[in-house]
Symmetry: C2
Subunit: 143 residues, 2 copies
């Protein structure tokens, strides 16, 4: 038993559920695909940050093919959960994301995409999508 | 039609699918809960960063109740997809995350949690979970 409070990757899952495979056909390198641990709809979370300032700009979703396109075109490409289609960031807005590097996390369910962001990352016009603060009301919040 | 390439929130969804509601009972403020746009298994992605350096440490998952506990205890609390249970970061490892602020993104499917991280964020012992670089092989990668 690992001396850790992190989720156990690859451990037996309650109910014996098998982690979801790719949702759609993809040209992604099979070695990378084998490391992904997807949501039930076949996606991993992509955290996007400005490569030099480190500012977290947005979170979007990638399936295997979106990751493949991101890695091979250098243009951040996502899967739209609402439209059920691929979208290249900036294709219609002009707010391009030029990819500098991509890192996979230890358990394969998230990517950290470092980009050079042109203009606003958020479709609302904000530089970052994280502009809504939620109230933290604990005595430990400032400890 | 919005002049944006971002996913359209609240738009009609192919097949008329309704966004998933909470997966489990929760004490989360209903006004906040109403803003969440969850994965099919009732989760939102929580991006965790060190509050002062801005370093992205990890991504974990929260359901409504995990978010409630995070906001009201000041201790980062997640839902483990593999174990199907709540976990308080640091409870067994000692690598506590003291929450400084929490922000919700524009479309309600991701949180940015700024913490004071004690020790390593990753269960492997790395400071951050994003230590596996993937190859970016495009001519635009350095543009």
């Amino acid at each position: 038993m690992p001396a850790s409070d992190a989720p156990v990757t690859g451990a037996s899952r309650p109910g014996g559920a098998v982690p979801p495979g790719p949702a759609r056909p993809s040209r992604l390198d099979p070695e990378i695909a084998a490391r992904l641990r997807r949501t039930p709809d076949g996606l991993v979370a992509a955290v996007v940050r400005q490569h030099d300032s480190g500012e977290v700009l947005m979170v979007a979703w990638m399936d295997d093919e979106a990751l493949h396109r991101t890695l091979t075109t250098g243009r951040a490409t996502y899967w739209s959960r609402s439209r059920q289609e691929y979208w290249v960031k900036g294709a219609t807005s002009g707010h391009h994301q030029y990819v500098r590097s991509v890192a996979l996390d230890c358990d394969g369910d998230a990517l950290l995409v470092s980009v050079d962001q042109v203009g606003a990352a958020c479709h609302t016009g904000h530089r970052t999508c994280f502009f809504t603060e939620l109230p933290v009301s604990s005595p430990e919040a400032t400890s």
